[in-house]
Structures are given as structure tokens and as C-alpha cells.
Symmetry: C2
Subunit: 435 residues, 2 copies
Amino acid sequence: MRAVDVIIKKRDRGEHTREELEFFILGYTRGDIPDYQVAAWAMAVLLNGMTPRETADLTMVMAHSGQVLDLSDVVPRAVDKHSTGGVGDKTSLVVVPAVAAAGLPVGKMSGRGLGFSGGTLDKLESIPGYRTDLTVEEFKRQLREVGAVLTGQSVDLAPADGKLYALRDVTGTVPSIPLIASSIMSKKIAAGAQAIVFDVKVGLGAFMRTLDQARELATLMVDIARQTGRKAIALLADMNQPLGHAVGNALEVKEAIATLQGQGPADFYEHCLTVAAHMLVLGGVADSIEAGRARIAEVIASGRAWDRFRAMVRAQGGDVRAVDEPERLPRARYIETVPSPRAGYIAGVHARRVGETAVLLGAGREKKGDPVDHAVGIVVHVKVGDEVEAGQPLFTIHANDPTKLAQARAALLDAVTWSVTPTPRLPLFYGVITG
Amino acid sequence: MRAVDVIIKKRDRGEHTREELEFFILGYTRGDIPDYQVAAWAMAVLLNGMTPRETADLTMVMAHSGQVLDLSDVVPRAVDKHSTGGVGDKTSLVVVPAVAAAGLPVGKMSGRGLGFSGGTLDKLESIPGYRTDLTVEEFKRQLREVGAVLTGQSVDLAPADGKLYALRDVTGTVPSIPLIASSIMSKKIAAGAQAIVFDVKVGLGAFMRTLDQARELATLMVDIARQTGRKAIALLADMNQPLGHAVGNALEVKEAIATLQGQGPADFYEHCLTVAAHMLVLGGVADSIEAGRARIAEVIASGRAWDRFRAMVRAQGGDVRAVDEPERLPRARYIETVPSPRAGYIAGVHARRVGETAVLLGAGREKKGDPVDHAVGIVVHVKVGDEVEAGQPLFTIHANDPTKLAQARAALLDAVTWSVTPTPRLPLFYGVITG
């Protein structure tokens, strides 16, 4: 087999065999096949597509390009969740301890933020001392003893995916649904997941801009799960406006803490209930979504979800006082409220622009490896459909640089659109894709 | 400007500006833009296409990526020819001296063979001592003094094209009509051509298999010539069966010599008359194709074309005795005639298979840099439409290895298809594309 013939096959709209994908992807991972051949192939895949069968094979080839975790000695069925990324999405911080408190241990390996989209690891690292570099042994021990783990990848899971993703990033080949789906799934499978709830974000602040795209990705991921013997469901979740109020690392941790204590924003609480309930159902701990929701509401109301979060923070070396007294979390020098310049109904709070403003303030990164400022960010006080008086707070900006503060103020006012007549609220979810 | 944005524009079916192509192609030539980005872009171009305007801009960017020869001090209008490559195509060896003898000096930089397709330089190097590495100064002096030059590229003409072509070869991005057209045209323009006759081969032994593809390439090249201020016409020439009889380097030189002496195969002589006549018309030396044909027929009949060939060989250091007495050219150890196994009409002599058999014997190369054996090759005694008796010679194989001789015999018999009823001859040309 020659690499160029694999490229030519996809160029000519052929369907790869499992053997071809193994030869090509593992050859690339070993360094036997050069970047330029894989770049040409990735463009051919983006433009000509892959069948679900090919995508499932690519997923398994990438998953098995490195170590595949086996959690079966720790949990009867490892249930994971994955968000495709958005603005203000601190869901994992709430659902992991809540689901654990409801009786289903959850160990999750998360990622960092890039561009307008935040990352769970950056948020957690707002907590002084919190370790995101657990070894596999530490991960498993904590999953057994605490039931809740939120860490980074300690081993190089699915190294083929890591190498391919870096190449796609610089060759214009990121927005391919089969390549996105196989990238996500390969990491989940390598991390030991037997069942996965996909939180597929759609809208202005998501990578999937249209419901059609989001549904295509969700359907493909659920299908790959089925083909590879995993259980999965996918939620299609709104990301036109930020989720909850807080955008920025420490600010989002505070909001997650409030939510775990029963005082979170209504939309975010509801989002967490739904995601967590699906996890309980997939994990066999709840018989129905309704039962799962009730169970999660109960562990939040009783404080057991919060206790589990504290136990997780302590187990991972975090300073528990900083979560007990969130004013101890990193705090920005300049905190300024932006009042509404007018009265009216909120027609839109452009999620991507809010996310980009948070990056401008230092909360996120333009490119991999950039440092982030955990203190800075934005609290969005309004939701689409709200009626607002002139002078009422729209945003609170947390900044460490007065110039950036001024730029953020202008950008945020631009991110709001108005209506003189009442506008409907946005739905939280647009649908559920089941296998 | 970022390289990835240029890729994304073509991925999304955008049309490049001249500035984008300069940035991308010259950045690649300098080494500032890596292979993998250009590979992804080339695949996007292959699958999404380029407009004629983009293709003309790409051509000029590549042509000017290195030195551009100016022949205006030597010839009033530099007329070139280009064949897209085939089997038994020794046209340049005849038309360059014939056109020169007819009053239009021609200096041509040719290439080497690759795969089933032969190359003019390999053929010429059958002549002991013949130099194909003239400097630009030697090229111009000979063009002025002898009027006929057939050499290789002494300087790195259109280096961007050279680098891009090598990358396309290993990334499955060769068969893109805009990339092929701009590759050919950029080298012709860099070599100083002001007018070009394109000999676009179509059929089983050509890179363009269908008339539609050949017409598309021909039309695009003529259009690029017009857009860049050059004159051009393109002939669509049959390449389903080999051109003439001889396939293989010294064998083709012998056939070219015979043709220059008025004793060539009818089809090849006719092909040369047509190509050369169009060159005379483009060069302003003949008023019509008919007048041009008559002029070429006259210089062949009078021996002046042959004299010019001898003068060219002498000027380039070749042994004139070897062309005066062609039995002095390299000669294979084993010469075997393959008789016809049956009676019937010849329905096909598969040009690519004959070319591949010549490569098998050692006449061509599988990959760049391989050596070639000038002595070996095949003489094809039959043409499509011929009526043949059992036992009549079909091929004469010239080999230096008995095993390969046996393989060639089998392959050649497989290359012939038969009819029990009379079959029409193949046309030499399918059309002419003018600007």
C-alpha cells in the first residue's frame, strides 16, 4: 500500500477500508507518512466526506493509536460527557459531582479553552492548588474513593488524533463533520468511556452555527458510538447567548459553586439537570429522564452534590477554603458595571462576541500554550427576552487592564441587540438524538 | 495575510487574487510556507477548481518565480511547441530542424520521460556526445548561428513550478486541469516563448484520456496564452496507438532521421507537417497552414531539414557519424520479431501498454532520476485498421535482458485487440483550438 494511493482514493470519492485507515493514520503517527500527504488527504476528506462506517473505523484507529484506559475494575459502566464547546459552559463542574452524588461515579478528562470557547481545566485551575495532571493511577484511585474526578489527559490518549488535529488547525481542515466526530469520539473511547452524553452546542457562540450542522454531528457521533459498541445520546443545546451569567474562569467557578448550592441561574441549572439526568439513565442509575432529574435536584438541594465537589477539590490538592469562601478565588483589579444605554427587550446577546471579549480581557487564549488570567471575565446580567430599563446593569466586567476594560465595554454593548416589542426567550435545547 | 486563510478561501470555493497567489506561491518557493499547507491547498484546487483568470495569474507568478529568458535579441518572435506526452512521440526531433530550415529559428527546452511517456532529452542522448545542458549563452548563440536548438533547462526556470510539481506528484494532486495548464505555461513563458503550438495528446497512451479533458486543457492553455499576451493554438492529437512505429530512445532517433530524410512513417510525417505548419503560421513565416505544410514538405524533400538536424547535432557536441549512419547508435543485444498469432484486422494497439512495456525493457523510468537504456525499445509494425495475416510481424522487440524480452513479448501481444471485420483507421487529430 502507498500513501499516495490512499489520498487518490479519497480524492476520487472512494470509501476507505479499515486497513487503509490503519496504514495511513498509524503510519502518520509513527512519522512514516509525512504531514503533506496527510494534509492533502484531510482536505479531500473535508470536501468529499466519509461514510459513517469509515468514520467509525477512523475513530477506532485513532483511539487505539495509544493507550486505551480500562475503567471496568473501578466503575461498572464508565459514563462520560462531552460538550462541543461554547461560552459560559461550566456544566462539567456541576454535573460531575452531582452525578457522582446521585450514585454514578464519573471520572472525566477535560481540555483547555481555545479562541472564544472556554475550557474546563482553565476554570478549575482558578482554584489554588487544584491539580489537573493526575496520573492514571491517581485518576482511578480517586474515581474509586471519591467518585468524582475532573482532570486533564495525563497520558497521551489517542496520539494520532492529537497530531492530526494540530495539522488540521493549520491547513484549513478543521470544519469537517466526520473529522470532528472521530476526533471527539477517539479521545472518549481512549479515556475508557462506555457511554457518553454529547452536549452539542449550536448557534452564534458554537462551532456548529446551524441546527442542521449540529444535528449532523450529533447523529454521526451517536452512530459511531453504536458501531463501536458504546451507548450515547446527544443533546442539541442553544449557544446563541452565553450559558448562565458568568464567562471567565474564576467567575464561572463561582457560578458553578452557587449552582451546586441551589442558587445558580435558572437556565444553567436546568441545563445541568438535563445533562446529568441523561448520564444517570445511560449509567443505569435512573430509569427515566424524569427520575434522573429528580435525583439530581435532590442531591443539589440536600447539599450532597456540593459535598462531592468539595471532596473532589480536596482530593486533587485544591484549597477547599477558596471554594467555601469564593471571594478567595482570583479577583480582578477593575470591576465595572455596564448600565443599559436604553430601555427595551433583549433580542440577542451574541455569545461568540462575549466569548471573544473574555479572550480580549485575558480569560482565554488565541493560540495553544498562551497563559490565561483566571480572574478576569464578564458577568452577563440579561437573557434574551428580558425587559430592561435604561440604566439597569447589562454586564459586569472584571479586568486587570484599564485599556482592555474600555475595549470590552464597547464590544459588549455591540454584542447586544434590542427589540422595542417583547421577544421570546431562547429554548435551552432543540432536540435529543438517540441511537 | 495568513497561509491558512488562502487555503480556507479555496476550500470554500473562493477566487484567489493575484496578490494571494503571489504571497502563497512565492512564500512556498522561498520556504516560508510549508509543504503541508500547499498540499492541502492543491487538493482544494483540484476538487474546487480555479477560474481561467486565477490560472493565468498562477502561471505568471510561477513563471516569474525565477529567471525569465528574453530571446527578442535573437529571434523576432520566439515560437515554441509543447506535447503533453505520449508514446512514440519524437515530433520535436523533426519539427525543430524542419521549422528552422523553413526560416523560423526555434530553440526548445525539453524534458525527460516519466512513466509510460518518453522524453525528448532521453532520445537525444542516444546520440554519442550530444549535450543537453547548454548554458543560456550557448543556447542563444546556437539559436542565432544554427537556428535550431534542442536542449534541457540549464537554469532553474519557474522554480515554483518545479517545487509544486514535486509535491503534487506525492499528494495525489497531479490531475488538475488548471494546475497542469499553469505548470506547462509557466515553463514555456519562463523559457521566453511568445507563441506556442500545443500538441495535446488524447487517448489510452496520454494523460488526458477523454476528448473532453483534452479539450478543456487545450482551451485553458490557449486562454492563458491570450490573457498573458502570447499567441497559441492547440491541436488535439490521437494517442490511442503509438505515434509512428518506433518506441524507445535510439529507435525513435532513427525514425526521426528517416522522417527528416523523407522516409518516415506516414502518420508521423503527417503529424510533423501539421505541427510544424502551425509553428510557421504563428511565427509569421507562412500565411496559411497549407502554405506552411508545403514549405515543410519542401525542406524535407530538399534535404535542408536534415542538414539543419545535422548542424544542430554537431553544434551540441553530438557525433554526426552516428546520425549519418544510424547503425552506429546504441543497439540492443537481443532483437526479436513477434509474429501475429492470427489473421484479422487490428482494432487497437494500446499505446500506454506499449509505453509501459518500453519502460519494462529499460527505455523509460518509473521515477525521476532512474537511468535509461537508450538501445532498447519496440518497433510496432501495425496500425489500427491494418489487415494482418497470421505469422506477419507485429512487433520487433529490442532488449538487453532475455527475461524482460519474454515479458515484453507477452505484454505486447496483450496490447493488441482484433476484429474479424474491417475496422476504420484512427484519425491523427480530433480538432484545433484557436484563441
